[in-house]
């Protein structure tokens, strides 16, 4: 992975954070990692704890961004989510996995889409 795409990833996460805050999400954690997984953003929305995956893509990328959250990626997110819940001793809270996609259009502007409850643990 080149420096360029890394920088874009960081930029994307910042954009996502800003967008989620506008939507009433309260960011709890960034880039949380467990042994076998990672999560871009963890937030609270109302009573729910939300694990958010941020996906950047541009016209040059292949396929729909949501489909890029494939089985392996989901497994990694779920593993990290379980670890987080365990470490923070979270009980009695409904959790959710959201995916946010940020599309960089050829003219440089960005289109953001939020998929709530995008997948489940099975």
């Amino acid at each position: 992975m080149g420096m360029e795409s890394y920088r874009q990833g960081l930029a994307g996460e910042e954009i996502a954070e800003r967008y989620l805050s506008q939507q009433g999400y309260e960011i709890v954690e960034r880039n949380f990692r467990s042994q076998q997984g990672e999560i871009d953003l963890i937030a609270r929305e109302g009573d729910d704890l939300v694990f958010v995956e941020v996906k950047n893509y541009s016209a040059r990328s292949y396929g729909a961004p949501l489909s890029a959250v494939n089985r392996n990626k989901r497994r990694s997110i779920i593993h990290a989510a379980r670890t987080f819940i365990y470490r923070k001793r979270i009980v009695g809270t409904n959790c959710r996995f959201d995916v946010i996609t940020i599309y960089r259009q050829p003219d440089g502007s960005r289109a953001i889409e939020l998929y709530k409850n995008a997948f489940a643990i099975n």
Binding site: D48, I78, A81, R82, I85, V91, G92, T93, N94, C95, R96, F97, N117, A120, I121, N122
Partner: protein, 513 residues
């Protein structure tokens, strides 16, 4: 939080209650279905999710455990989609289930939230009625079928929204009703009629006798002589189905998913003609999840086996149990299922592989051993269960050119029905319902011959060298012929006609053609 909704599962033609329990725990989102679901039940997860979202509800968060109780029987089919969806909506408090008390919910969900019909609804509803259930919620397309069961309120729903609106009291559904008597035409309606068939008067007469006594028939004739045409018209001369018989037939078609949406009730006698490549499971029923086979689909109707000797030997041999018992029992490790199979067997075959053996004009080119092999496929015990063997000759030129003439099916049917009534009175209080099924004891009691008839039968046995079983068959068939005439004692002319219907015996026994 936990919600319970009643549903049902089918085992053979009986149903038992299933309790769909939905429990939600806060935590990571997901769900598991327990209670031995098969793949089609497990897949309901995805259908339910799409249906809930596309009906404008929110797919609830948290971890769902769905139990189909009792948990020790295997559940199959998509009929739990609707109760599961309602359960999930109830658990997440998007709907209150108080209005549901005791309603049995059955239905498959489409991704857009519409409710689809299920197979086997009629037998399920009949069983539910017996269990004392008062109300069912079913797909609108299935509502007629469910409403055939008297004393059960049927709530038809077209989609998940309607179901929810009813339960929450927003829009109550009026129970669906069907007038069974109105579904029954005064006369059974068939597209075919006996009057369509040209010539073949003696075959028509033989089929009338067969229909009157419930005898099985073997038609032997060259290709193109009209065996199939005649056999197809046999149901039209059988007595009309009674309401309870119609329900029995409909149950079997419901389980197999062969009911079309337009006719909730089958009011005519079935005619099944499986191809000779059909497997024994296809004929007798069975499979991992046992389903009725062709013999059961022909229940109370006609099973027509064209090219009889071309069927696999196993297929022909498995026919013996249903021919004897009028039912089929399928045993599996967990359960034994019995399907009814009271049918009239009509078998058709060529006299030899080339088909010209009996033809007065065309010459048979088959070497004798091939003819012998051809007949050899039919075992003695199987032929034993066929009372009438009828030759169907090829029509002559002038007969082909002539207009079809002869009696309509309606006229013949009236005679047949009358003869059946006589038999019902005769066998009242026994398991037997037609002459073909008479026990030896009953034969002794009911087949009295006058002296002339006795002499004729004796000389027939002598001259035609008839076997003991041929003797029994002739007696039974003469009883039926006498019944058609309305005579108590069997007379010489009845014996004479019955002897005509033993072609194979006159040839000197099976395989000696």
């Amino acid at each position: 939080m936990l919600v319970k909704i009643d549903s049902a599962a089918l085992l053979g033609l009986e149903a038992y209650l299933i309790e769909v329990e939905v429990d939600a725990q806060k935590g990571l989102p997901g769900q598991s279905i327990v209670g031995l679901p098969d793949a089609s039940v497990r897949e309901s997860r995805d259908r339910v999710r799409a249906a809930i979202e596309n009906s404008g509800f929110e797919f609830p968060g948290g971890y769902f455990t769905i139990n189909l109780a009792p948990a020790d029987t295997k559940k199959e089919g998509p009929l739990y989609d609707l109760p599961i969806a309602l359960g999930m909506l109830a658990v997440s408090e998007q709907v209150k289930t108080t209005q549901l008390n005791g309603t049995v919910v059955l239905g498959e969900l489409s991704l857009d939230g519409s409710v689809r019909g299920i197979n086997g609804l009629l037998p399920i509803c009949l069983s539910l009625k017996q269990e004392g259930k008062k109300q069912v919620m079913v797909a609108r397309e299935n509502a007629d079928e469910a409403a055939l069961v008297e004393g059960l309120a049927v709530l038809p729903v077209a989609n998940l929204r309607e179901a929810v609106d009813h339960i929450s009291g927003l829009k109550t559904i009026v129970p669906h009703q069907v007038d069974i008597a109105a579904l029954f035409p005064p006369e059974p309606e068939y597209d075919l009629d006996f009057a369509d068939v040209k010539g073949q008067g003696h075959v028509k007469r033989a089929l009338e006798v067969a229909a009157a006594g419930g005898h099985n028939v073997l038609l032997v004739g060259s290709p193109g002589s009209g065996k199939t045409m005649l056999a197809r018209r046999l149901p039209t001369i059988l007595p009309p189905l009674s309401i309870s018989e119609a329900l029995e037939v409909t149950k079997l078609y419901s389980v197999t998913g062969l009911l079309d949406g337009k006719h909730a009730l089958i009011t005519t006698r079935p005619f099944r003609s499986p191809h000779h490549t059909t497997s024994d499971i296809g004929v007798i029923g069975g499979g991992r999840i046992p389903r009725p086979g062709e013999v059961s689909l022909a229940h109370l109707g006609v099973l027509f086996l064209d090219e009889f000797p071309e069927f696999e030997r196993e297929v022909l041999e498995v026919l013996r149990q249903p021919l004897e018992d009028g039912q089929v029992t399928i045993s599996r490790a967990h359960s034994t299922i019995t399907y009814p199979a009271q049918f009239m067997l009509v078998a058709a075959m060529n006299p030899c592989p080339c088909g010209n053996y009996l033809d007065p004009v065309k010459k048979c080119v088959c070497p004798p051993y091939r003819v012998k092999n051809y007949w050899g496929k039919l075992s003695g015990p199987l032929l034993d269960r066929i009372d009438l063997h009828i030759e169907v000759p090829r029509l002559k030129q002038e007969e082909l050119a002539a207009q079809p003439e002869g009696e309509s099916s309606k006229l013949v049917r009236e005679r047949v029905s009358q003869a059946r009534l006589t038999q019902q009175a005769r066998f009242k209080g026994t398991e037997v319902h037609c002459n073909a099924r008479m026990t030896p004891k009953q034969m002794k009691a009911f087949c009295q011959l006058d002296p002339e008839a006795e002499n004729l039968l004796k000389s027939a046995i002598l001259h035609l060298r008839l076997s003991g079983r041929a003797y029994d068959r002739i007696l039974k068939v003469s009883r039926t012929i006498a019944d058609l005439e309305g005579t108590d004692t069997i007379q010489a002319r009845h014996i004479a006609e019955a002897t005509q219907y033993r072609t194979l015996d006159r040839w000197g026994g099976e395989g000696n053609v």
